[in-house]
């Protein structure tokens, strides 16, 4: 049975597009047929995060307006079997598509794909409404910051109002060391505030910047710890039970042991 999952956040810049790209890659590597859809019309970015920007011929608006067939607009990712991108239009705006057209588009994609991942634009207006229109469920991305959590709370309310029950949370740019030192909200703090189930935690690392420079999502790299975090999130997304959290702390030297001993650094924290 195929499913459409919308990746959303309310606030911009928290990592929706990076999350969509990596979950698409990770689900594809699990053997699923995946379409990632860029619903941020006018500000397309999923193509560059995936490194597929040079291969776009048609886009989502062309498909909706009937100027090309759906299959012509899908860009195949040669690195991952079964992964395809439906790019957004860059020169149009959000009003070029209606929620009804999105629902029809998603229904068409679901005939050919196991997962349709929709990368929602920031905000709560037309673009968001289009992105959630065809979705069966939602993944809400946030970071451990006051502004991002506030917006995530708003978006959770709106997602639920759109009859997408039980949105799941991805906490992005988490820094276990800062959280342990009391300088960042912990995963428990965030879950208490937002009270939705946790899908996974992605640590803040420089790998993500390097991967976006290259258009090579970290989920492609077997040696990457962040990539592993995304791969585990993808497994949870498929319904695989009890996928263990990843231990991402690197504090194993004598200096950290000394800090832990005096209570300056709590025991190592497990994220994933």
């Amino acid at each position: 049975m195929s499913e459409c999952i919308v990746v959303t956040s309310g606030k911009g810049g928290v990592g929706k597009t990076t999350t969509t790209a990596n979950l698409g890659v990770a689900l594809g590597r699990l053997g699923a047929k995946v379409a990632v859809v860029d619903a941020d019309i006018g500000l397309r970015n999923l193509d560059v995060i995936l490194g597929l920007e040079n291969r776009i011929v048609y886009d989502l608006v062309h498909v909706v307006e009937g100027s090309c067939r759906l299959k012509q607009a899908l860009v195949r990712d040669k690195r991952v079997d079964g992964l395809f991108l439906l790019p957004a239009a860059q020169t149009r705006d959000k009003n070029a598509v209606t929620p009804r057209q999105m629902r029809e588009l998603v229904a068409d994609l679901k005939k050919d794909f196991d997962y349709v991942l929709v990368d929602s634009p920031a905000g709560i207006e037309q673009g968001f409404k289009n992105a959630v229109a065809g979705a069966d469920r939602a993944v809400v991305v946030t970071t451990p910051e006051v502004s991002a959590i506030r917006d995530a709370d708003r978006i959770i309310g709106m997602v639920e109002a759109n009859e997408l029950p039980e949105p799941q949370l991805v906490i992005n740019r988490y820094r276990p060391r800062m959280a342990a030192a009391g300088d960042m909200m912990t995963k428990e703090d965030i879950l208490e505030l937002l009270s939705i189930p946790l899908l996974g935690i992605v640590p803040d690392t420089e790998d993500i910047i390097v991967s976006s420079n290259r258009g090579m999502p970290v989920a492609l790299d077997d040696s990457s710890r962040v990539g592993e975090a995304y791969r585990r999130i993808a497994r949870r997304l498929t319904g695989e039970p009890d996928v263990p959290m990843l231990d991402l702390s690197a504090d194993q030297g004598w200096w950290s042991a000394l800090k832990r001993w005096v209570g300056l650094q709590p025991a190592r924290e497990v994220v994933g």
């Binding site: 910051e145 006051v146 959590i149 506030r150 709370d153 708003r154 959770i156 309310g157 959280a179 030192a181 009391g182 300088d183 960042m184 909200m185 912990t186 703090d189 505030l193 009270s195 000394l258 800090k259 001993w261 005096v262 209570g263 300056l264």
Partner: protein, 91 residues
């Protein structure tokens, strides 16, 4: 000994995590119910006026606040009653 070493390693000063959480708790409630502090005060005054028709209350120690658990907002109030008014108004 432990404290001394902790001091030498530099203990973190303020805990901004707690501050962030506290601010968010208030923020999320007000975003959800969309009630201004002035409206909240007006509601409190009116409720107290009604209660005072039936019982004598201690207005200084009266507390009204919005709380949130599992996404639901509740109005929680503590109104200390000093004694029952002898003839409650029936209007």
């Amino acid at each position: 000994m432990k404290n001394l070493v902790a001091k030498l390693l530099g203990r973190p000063a303020a805990n901004s995590r707690e501050e962030a959480k506290k601010r968010l708790k208030v923020l999320l409630i007000h975003d959800q119910v969309d009630l201004t502090p002035a409206q909240m005060e007006a509601m409190k005054a009116e409720i107290m006026e009604v209660i005072a028709r039936y019982v004598q209350i201690d207005p200084i120690n009266t507390e009204f606040r919005l709380e949130r658990a599992d996404g639901q907002v509740a109005l929680v109030s503590t109104v200390p009653v000093t004694r029952v008014v002898e003839r409650p108004a029936t209007a």
